[in-house]
């Protein structure tokens, strides 16, 4: 019986491709959940329910219709394969595992170092890139001499070895292996192109365009995704966040998130399109808020028209108040976040306030979002700052919520929970 089940991933994840191509060969029926509302990358995979099934919280993750759960892309691909793909003798099976590991240990690291800066998702380091290029050349050389006499990596048919190594080389071939670079590796090229053109690969990968001209570091794109303009202090908290995560996961995890960012890019048109129409018109409220008295006009208007089905209110507090020093830097921290969230303006409103004085301050705010979830995971541009804040959903019917909305929108009040005086406020609109 062929396997049936669900694969959780983010769109265009090359690691998920391995399982999907294997399924094309084996006839396994895999339902892919990669986008909202079924799967929000960075959110769904952090829920207790997901973590109970997949303790690492990474994707791809596979859940069989029979309840069997497995994570790690190679394990998933193995599970959904048939015996031909896994190798039918001990020797071929061992050789297949050999190439699968080779892909992870020898191809993925230099490929990431070289390719990511060209996609603007990692900083460029000339020395590291040059080293990675040489490493890629070495790896291609190894493959090339193997494929001189071999049509496929193991045996005389496509196996998990080919599927895994092709997927690991995919970004190199798409992004940087321009014709002159790949020309000496004629055997690898022949094998690679043949694999891509097998109907089972094509069904998953579509038409793959091989690199015409080696992509270079994309400084502009890099600046867009990770602005460096703010004071250096600004960068620190998110970085620490990252470090923590990196310790937990292998360095390749970064690849996943970077590629997720990449994959999500063409799809950012309207991440809220799936939501039903809401009677609450944000622009109307913003006009009232900007042009008329907050207490007597804007706030009553807000509560009169607020649609708790289509919108949600959140309280956000900066998690590292002890790192806030100069107030002007803290303000930059807030406005920097607003800038990065630019595309969210149509679907969000916020009042964020800096309390206290130099070296003794805190930041907190009230946010209004379209939908019932935090909008940040919907776009990679939006994920830079939000993990530096603790987010708490407010119950619009509660007195606490009413008070918070009033005080934060008004920039006046007791701010009982803060314990520091109001310094200045910023409005995201």
């Amino acid at each position: 019986m062929a396997v049936t089940g669900t694969l959780y991933t983010y769109p265009e994840n090359w690691r998920a491709f391995k399982a999907l191509i294997a399924a094309q060969y084996s006839g396994a029926k895999i339902k892919v959940l990669s986008s909202p509302p079924h799967f929000h990358f960075g959110q769904t995979n952090k829920t207790p329910e997901f973590l109970r099934k997949f303790p690492v919280g990474k994707v791809p993750a596979f859940e069989g219709d029979d309840g069997f759960c497995v994570f790690e892309s190679n394990a998933i691909a193995y599970y959904v394969s048939n015996d031909e793909l896994r190798g039918s003798t001990k020797e071929t099976a061992a050789e297949i595992v050999q190439w699968v590991n080779f892909a992870d240990s020898d191809i993925v690291p230099p490929a990431s170092t070289w390719v990511f800066p060209t996609l603007g998702i990692m900083h460029y380091n000339k020395q590291a890139t040059e080293f990675a290029k040489e490493e890629v050349r070495r790896v291609l050389g190894v493959l090339d001499s193997h494929l001189r006499t071999q049509t496929f990596l193991v045996g005389e048919r496509v196996s998990l070895a080919d599927i895994t190594v092709v997927c690991a080389l995919l970004w190199l071939y798409k992004q940087v292996l321009e014709p002159s670079f790949r020309q000496p590796f004629v055997n690898v090229n022949r094998w690679f192109v043949t694999c891509l053109n097998q109907p089972q690969f094509k069904a998953v990968l579509g038409e793959v365009q091989l690199c015409e001209k080696m992509a270079q570091f994309d400084a502009k794109k890099f600046a867009e995704t990770q602005p460096r303009k703010e004071p250096p202090r600004k960068e620190k908290p998110p970085k620490e966040e990252k470090k923590k995560e990196e310790k937990k996961a292998a360095p390749e995890e970064e690849l996943d998130e970077c590629e997720q960012a990449l994959a999500a890019e063409p799809k950012v048109k309207d991440p809220f399109a799936h939501l039903p129409k809401s009677p609450f018109v944000l622009d109307e409220f913003k006009r009232k808020y900007s042009n008329e008295d907050t207490l007597t006009v804007a706030l009553p208007h807000f509560w009169e028209h607020f649609d708790p089905e289509g919108w949600s209110l959140w309280f956000a507090e900066y998690r590292f108040p002890e790192e806030l020093s100069q107030t002007f830097m803290s303000c930059n921290l807030i406005t920097g976040m607003f800038q990065r969230l630019d595309k969210l303006r149509k679907n969000a409103f916020a009042s964020v306030i800096l309390f206290g004085t130099n070296n003794d301050s805190s930041i907190s705010g009230v946010w209004l979002f379209r939908g019932q979830d935090l909008a940040f995971p919907l776009s990679p541009d939006w994920q830079v700052d939000y993990e530096s804040y603790a987010w708490r959903k407010l119950d619009p019917a509660s007195a606490e919520c009413r008070t918070l909305v009033k005080e934060y929108f008004l920039w006046e009040g007791e701010f009982k929970h803060v314990g520091k005086p109001f310094n200045q406020g910023k409005i995201f609109k």
Binding site: R148, Q150, T151, G155, E156, R190, T194
Partner: protein, 181 residues
């Protein structure tokens, strides 16, 4: 002139193809003329004459049209190699003819896995049958010299159902002469 030529590929090979395609036995073949051109008697209409005509007919009968190529270009390339097979491989008989064929194919197959490029087609099957007697007789050095042909041939002979009763040709996977090109 016709008397000097070798007999064309025959009924035996069509039987191999039938079996490979999973067709039930039952086609009746005859031969025609001095070169013993195979003829297939069909239930409706006139008989089919000629090896390639019949081979293509069998593929269609087995509903495996993809073996004739999918795109227009592939179909043309498949036809090209079928023609090459009949005119050059079957037509040539001298050592020199064979050398040229192997040289041609070796260059052609450097960047291709199959004769039609990326997919296995009838061209691979019939070229394999046509070259089997040549490859069997190659020395280890010659197999190394025509490395791309060897790799291709070895792959095709391992393709499920292709080889059947034909002998397995052995290829050495590591280089014999590391200085050779």
């Amino acid at each position: 002139m016709a008397a000097a030529a070798r007999p064309g590929p025959g009924v035996d090979e069509l039987a191999l193809l039938e079996k490979l395609l999973g067709l039930p036995k039952g086609n009746k073949y005859g031969v025609q003329g001095e070169r013993k051109v195979p003829v297939l008697q069909t239930n409706n209409g006139p008989g089919l004459t000629g090896f390639m005509t019949i081979a293509a007919h069998l593929v269609k009968q087995a509903k495996k049209d993809q073996l004739l190529g999918s795109t227009a270009e592939e179909k043309a390339v498949v036809q090209q190699w079928l023609e090459y097979r009949v005119t050059r491989v079957d037509g040539g008989s001298s050592k020199e003819d064979t050398r040229i064929i192997l040289k041609d194919l070796n260059i052609y197959l450097e960047d291709k896995v199959y004769l039609a490029g990326n997919i296995f087609t009838l061209a691979d099957i019939l070229m394999y049958y046509g070259l089997h007697h040549v490859m069997v007789d190659l020395t280890v050095q010659e197999k190394e010299k025509y490395l791309n042909v060897s790799r291709w041939f070895n792959h095709i002979q391992h393709y499920p159902g292709v080889r059947q009763h034909l002998s397995n040709v052995i290829f050495i996977k590591n280089r014999l002469y590391t200085n050779a090109h």
